[in-house]
C-alpha cells in the first residue's frame, strides 16, 4: 500500500507541471491584459514601463520559468493588481471558503447519503419518486438564480436573515451574527449539492443490494438492518467516497457564483475577480493550489476505497 501511495505521489509531479503549463498558456491566450483598466489618458510609454517593471515584457516561456522558479522556492509572487503577496491573499480568503463550502459539503453529504439510502430502500415508491424529482429540480436550478431569490425572499422581504457578507461590516464579531450570515448561502449550496450525493448513493446501493454476497447474507437469515448496515452500505459507499475525493478540493477552491451573489469573501471570488483583471500570478497561485488539492484528493479517495472494498485490495495485490 505504501509503495502504491508513493508511486502515485511521484506520478503527480509531472502531472502538476503539465497542468501549470496548460493553465499559464490558456491565461495568456485570452485577449486582454492586466492594464486594460488603465485610463485612456495614460501614455502608452507609461504602460510599457509598468509592463517592464512587472516582468510582463519577457517572452512567455521566460515568464513561466521565472514563475516556476519562484514557486519552487515557496514564493507565489505578488498580485499585479493589488501588489499583495499571492499567498497572503489566499490565506486571508481561505477560512471564509472553508467555512461555507465545508459546512455545505458536510450537510449535503449527510442529507444526500440519507436520502439516497431511503430512496434505494423504497425503490419505485412515492418516497423514491419525490427524492428523484427534488434532485432533478435542485440540479436544474441555476445557483445564481436560487441565491438571488433566497436573498429577495428571506432577507429583503421577510427580513429573517442578512442579505450577504460574512458578518455585519464595521461591527465587532459575534457568533450569532456570523451564523446568521452563514445560514442562507449554506442552505442554497446544500440544496444544490444534495442530488449528487443522493443519486450516487441510491444507484450504488441498489447495485450492491443485487450482489451475490447480499443474497448470501439474506440466505443465512441475517436481519435486514444488519444486511444493509454491515454488508451493503460499506461497499455502496465506494463511489460516494470517490466523489468526496473530488469534492474536498472544492472546499478550498470556493464557489465563485455563490460567493459573488452572497458577497462572501472567499477563494472563488478571489479567482473570479482575478480573472476579470488578468491578475496572472494570483490566478496561477490559485490554480496551483487547486491542482494540488484535486490530485491529492483523488489519491486520498483511492487509498480510502482500497481500505473499504476488499476487491480493490485484492486487485492491488495481483
Amino acid at each position: 500500500m505504501t509503495r502504491y501511495a508513493l508511486q502515485r505521489l511521484a506520478a503527480s509531479v509531472p502531472l502538476l507541471l503539465v497542468i501549470s503549463i496548460l493553465c499559464f498558456g490558456l491565461l495568456h491566450l485570452a485577449p486582454g491584459g492586466p492594464f486594460d483598466r488603465i485610463g485612456p489618458n495614460v501614455h502608452p510609454e507609461d504602460v510599457e514601463r509598468l509592463r517592464r517593471m512587472m516582468g510582463l515584457d519577457d517572452p512567455l516561456p521566460v515568464q513561466y520559468l521565472k514563475w516556476l522558479g519562484r514557486t519552487l522556492r515557496g514564493d507565489l509572487g505578488t498580485s499585479l493588481v493589488t501588489g499583495e503577496r499571492v499567498d497572503t491573499m489566499i490565506r486571508a480568503r481561505l477560512p471564509a471558503t472553508v467555512e461555507l463550502l465545508g459546512t455545505s459539503l458536510v450537510l449535503s453529504l449527510v442529507a444526500g447519503v440519507a436520502l439516497g439510502v431511503i430512496a434505494a430502500l423504497h425503490r419505485g415508491r412515492l418516497v423514491d419518486r419525490v427524492v428523484g424529482a427534488t434532485s432533478v429540480l435542485a440540479q436544474s436550478v441555476p445557483v445564481f438564480w436560487l441565491g438571488v431569490v433566497a436573498i429577495a425572499v428571506f432577507a429583503a422581504r421577510l427580513g429573517w436573515l442578512p442579505t450577504g457578507g460574512r458578518g455585519t461590516p464595521g461591527e465587532k464579531f459575534s457568533p450569532g451574527d456570523y451564523l446568521l450570515h452563514l445560514l442562507l448561502p449554506v442552505l442554497v449550496l446544500t440544496f444544490v449539492q444534495i442530488p449528487q450525493w443522493s443519486r450516487t448513493m441510491r444507484a450504488s446501493l441498489l447495485d450492491v443490494l443485487g450482489d451475490e454476497h447480499v443474497r448470501a447474507a439474506r440466505a443465512r437469515g441475517l436481519s435486514e438492518a444488519r444486511i444493509i448496515l454491515r454488508h451493503a452500505l460499506p461497499p455502496a459507499l465506494v463511489p460516494v467516497i470517490t466523489l468526496l475525493g473530488l469534492q474536498v478540493p472544492v472546499v478550498f477552491t470556493g464557489a465563485a457564483i455563490t460567493e459573488t451573489v452572497f458577497a462572501w469573501p472567499g477563494i472563488g471570488r478571489l479567482f473570479y475577480e482575478g480573472a476579470l483583471r488578468f491578475d496572472y500570478w494570483r490566478l496561477m497561485g490559485l490554480l496551483l493550489v487547486a491542482s494540488v488539492l484535486v490530485v491529492g484528493g483523488n489519491l486520498a479517495a483511492d487509498l480510502t476505497n482500497a481500505r473499504l472494498d476488499p476487491r480493490i485490495r485484492f486487485q492491488g495485490k495481483q
Binding site: P40, T82, I151, P169, L180
Partner: protein, 544 residues
C-alpha cells in the same frame, strides 16, 4: 420506531436554527446608541488605498475620504481648493506671467492622522515619488510636465514647468493624493507598490483608516482633527458586494445605505421605497459614435454629416436608454462647460432630407433600385462595432440599422469582446465604433482625442481625424491659461468638430445614486470626481 431518530434529528435542527436566530436577534437588538455610520455599497473592491497605483474607481471613492489634495471639481464643475488657501491664477500671482511657474500656498492647520503636521515637504516627496520610475506610479501626469519643484518654506510649494500647460492647475493633486513623507520615505523603490501601507494608509483627510477586511469591507472613522472641522458621520463603511442585483437587494433590506452608481433599470424599485432617495445626475460620461475618417467611405465629411443627420439622438435617449437614464448629447461639450458653444448643438440636428441631399452630393444614389445607395457599383455598406454584452449600446445599433436602412445605407453589426474592441480601435480595423467616453471639465485633453499627432497607439485619435486648424487651436489652448481666451479657442474647436463630424456624441449618461432619505449633504459631481468629493459635509439627520 423507524421514524424516531429522524424526528429527533429534525427537532435538533429546528432548535439549533431557533438558537442561531435568537443569538442573532439578541445581538441586533442591544440597546446601544447607534453611531452615525453609513454603509456604502460598491461592486468593485479597491485595488490599493493610494491613487498613485490604484486603477479602480472604487479606490478613488475611498481615497477621497482618507487623503487630502490640492483641488477638486465640485458638483457645479468649479474647481475648489482643499489643502490650498487659494487656487493659483495669474490674477492672484499664483501663476507667473509666462505661464511656467505655479506657486501653491498650503493651509497651516492640516495634520496627518498620526498627528504630524502636513507641510510642503510632503508635497515635494509625493511629486518626487510620482516621477521616480522606480516606484511604478501608474500615471505620473501632470508631473511629467514639471521641470523642477521647490519648497521655499513649510507651507509653500513652487512648480516650474518645462513649457506652459494650462491644465496644470486643475490637474495637479486633483486625482493624486498627497502622501506622508515621514511614513513612506523609507519604503519607496521597487517594493513600494507591495508595501503594507498601500492597504492601511495614513492620510490627512476627513476620515481615518480603521480596517480593510479583504473581500468584505473597508471601514473608516471620523478624523476629529480634520482641518475643515470634524465630518458629520462617525463612520463610513465601504461594503463590497460584487453582484449588482444582490447589491440592490442589500439596499432594499437596509444592509447597505448608499448604492453608488445604481443601474438605471433598478431606479424605479429604489424610488418606491420611502426610506431611500434616488439622486439622478447627468454626468460627463457619454456614448459616442466614432467614425474612422481614414476609411474609403467615411473619409468624405458629407457622409459623416449625413449619418449625423440620420441619427435621432432625442429618440435614442428616451426610447433606447430609457426616460431619465440619458439626455441627448448634441456635442461633446456639456452646457455646463464654459467652452460650450450652442451653435455646435444645432449643426447636426435630425434631418432626413438634409441627409439625403448630403449623400447624393457625395455621389451615393440608389441606381439599381434595391433600396441601398451605391456609387461606382459598390453599395453603401458600413459596419458598426461595440463591446458585446452592453444592452443599451446593442439596442442603439439595431435602431440605427433600421433608421439608416430607410435612408439607403446597409449597416452591418459586428461586436467584439472588450480587449478585441480596443485592439480594432487601435489598429484601425473598424468603420464606426460605439463606446463610452468621459469628458473632463478642462478641455486640454482634446488634442489627445482629435490632434493629428495623437494617432493610435501613441494617442487616442481613434477617428484618425486630421485638421490643421484644430491642431493649432488645441496646441494654443493647452498653453493658454487666461480663461476668456481659452474658452474662445475651444469654442472654435467645437465648431470644427460639429462641421467635420469625426465623431457623433449620442447621449450623456445619467448617474444614479441611492441614498438614505435622512442623508444630507450628498452632492454627486457630474465630473469624474468621486461622489465622496464632499464627504465631510455628509450627515445623517438621525445621528445624535
Amino acid at each position: 420506531m423507524r421514524h424516531g431518530p429522524a424526528k429527533h434529528a429534525l427537532r435538533t435542527v429546528v432548535a439549533l436554527l431557533v438558537l442561531v436566530a435568537l443569538a442573532g436577534g439578541c445581538s441586533r437588538s442591544k440597546p446601544v446608541p447607534r453611531p452615525a455610520r453609513l454603509v456604502v455599497g460598491i461592486t468593485d473592491e479597491p485595488d490599493m488605498l493610494n491613487d498613485m497605483f490604484a486603477q479602480s474607481k472604487s479606490s478613488r471613492l475611498v481615497n477621497h475620504c482618507i487623503y487630502s489634495r490640492f483641488v477638486c471639481w465640485d458638483d457645479s464643475m468649479h474647481l475648489v481648493p482643499d489643502l490650498l488657501t487659494v487656487i493659483p491664477s495669474q490674477t492672484n500671482g499664483g501663476i507667473s506671467p509666462d505661464d511656467l511657474t505655479y506657486t501653491y500656498h498650503l493651509r497651516h492647520d492640516a495634520r496627518w492622522h498620526d498627528g504630524v503636521p502636513l507641510t510642503s515637504a510632503d508635497v515635494l516627496f509625493t511629486y518626487q515619488a510620482m516621477v521616480d520610475t522606480a516606484n511604478g506610479a501608474v500615471d505620473p501626469s501632470p508631473f511629467d510636465e514639471v521641470d523642477h519643484a521647490e519648497a521655499p518654506d513649510s507651507f509653500t510649494v513652487v512648480f516650474r514647468l518645462k513649457e506652459p500647460y494650462a491644465a496644470f492647475v486643475s490637474a495637479a493633486f486633483n486625482e493624486e493624493d498627497v502622501l506622508p513623507k515621514h511614513v513612506l520615505e523609507k519604503l519607496t523603490g521597487a517594493g513600494f507598490r507591495s508595501a503594507a501601507y498601500q492597504r492601511a494608509p495614513v492620510g490627512s483627510g476627513p476620515f481615518r483608516f480603521k480596517e480593510w477586511v479583504p473581500g468584505s469591507h473597508i471601514a473608516l472613522v471620523r478624523n476629529e482633527a480634520y482641518y475643515k472641522g470634524a465630518p458629520g458621520l462617525d463612520e463610513i463603511v465601504f461594503k463590497i458586494v460584487p453582484e449588482a442585483s444582490a447589491l440592490a437587494l442589500q439596499a432594499q433590506a437596509g444592509d447597505v445605505d448608499v448604492v453608488n452608481g445604481a443601474e438605471c433599470s433598478q431606479v424605479a424599485a429604489f424610488a418606491s421605497q420611502p426610506r431611500l432617495r434616488v439622486l439622478r445626475t447627468v454626468s460627463l460620461s457619454f456614448d459616442q459614435l466614432t467614425f474612422n475618417c481614414s476609411g474609403p467611405v467615411l473619409r468624405d465629411g458629407r457622409v459623416r454629416q449625413a449619418l449625423a443627420a440620420l441619427t435621432d439622438r432625442g429618440a435614442l435617449a428616451t426610447q433606447v436608454y430609457g426616460e431619465g437614464c440619458a439626455t441627448p448629447a448634441l456635442s461633446d461639450a456639456s452646457p455646463l462647460m464654459p467652452w460650450y458653444d450652442p451653435a455646435a448643438d444645432t449643426a447636426n440636428v435630425y434631418d432626413v432630407k438634409r441627409a439625403a441631399r448630403l449623400l447624393e452630393g457625395a455621389g451615393w444614389r440608389d441606381t439599381n433600385g434595391d433600396g441601398i445607395r451605391d456609387r461606382g457599383g459598390k453599395p453603401l455598406r458600413l459596419e458598426i462595432s461595440t463591446i458585446a454584452g452592453r444592452p443599451a449600446r446593442e439596442r442603439v445599433q439595431v435602431v440605427l440599422q433600421q433608421a439608416w436602412r430607410a435612408a439607403g445605407i446597409d449597416l452591418q453589426i459586428h461586436n467584439y469582446s472588450g480587449p478585441e474592441f480596443f485592439e480594432i480601435l487601435t489598429n484601425g480595423q473598424f468603420q464606426i465604433a460605439l463606446f463610452g467616453w468621459q469628458q473632463e471639465p478642462d478641455p486640454a485633453p482634446m488634442d489627445q482625442v482629435y490632434g493629428s499627432h495623437s494617432m493610435p497607439p501613441v494617442g487616442q485619435n481613434f477617428a484618425r481625424f486630421r485638421d490643421a486648424r484644430l491642431d493649432s487651436l488645441t496646441a494654443l489652448g493647452k498653453r493658454q491659461s487666461a480663461p476668456v481666451l481659452r474658452n474662445r479657442i475651444y469654442r472654435e474647436v467645437e465648431g470644427i468638430l460639429a462641421r467635420e463630424v469625426p465623431a457623433l456624441p449620442l447621449v450623456w449618461l445619467t448617474e444614479n445614486d441611492v441614498v438614505p432619505a435622512e442623508l444630507r449633504g450628498f452632492r454627486p459631481s457630474p465630473t469624474s470626481a468621486p461622489d465622496t468629493w464632499n464627504v465631510p459635509a455628509w450627515r445623517l439627520e438621525r445621528s445624535q
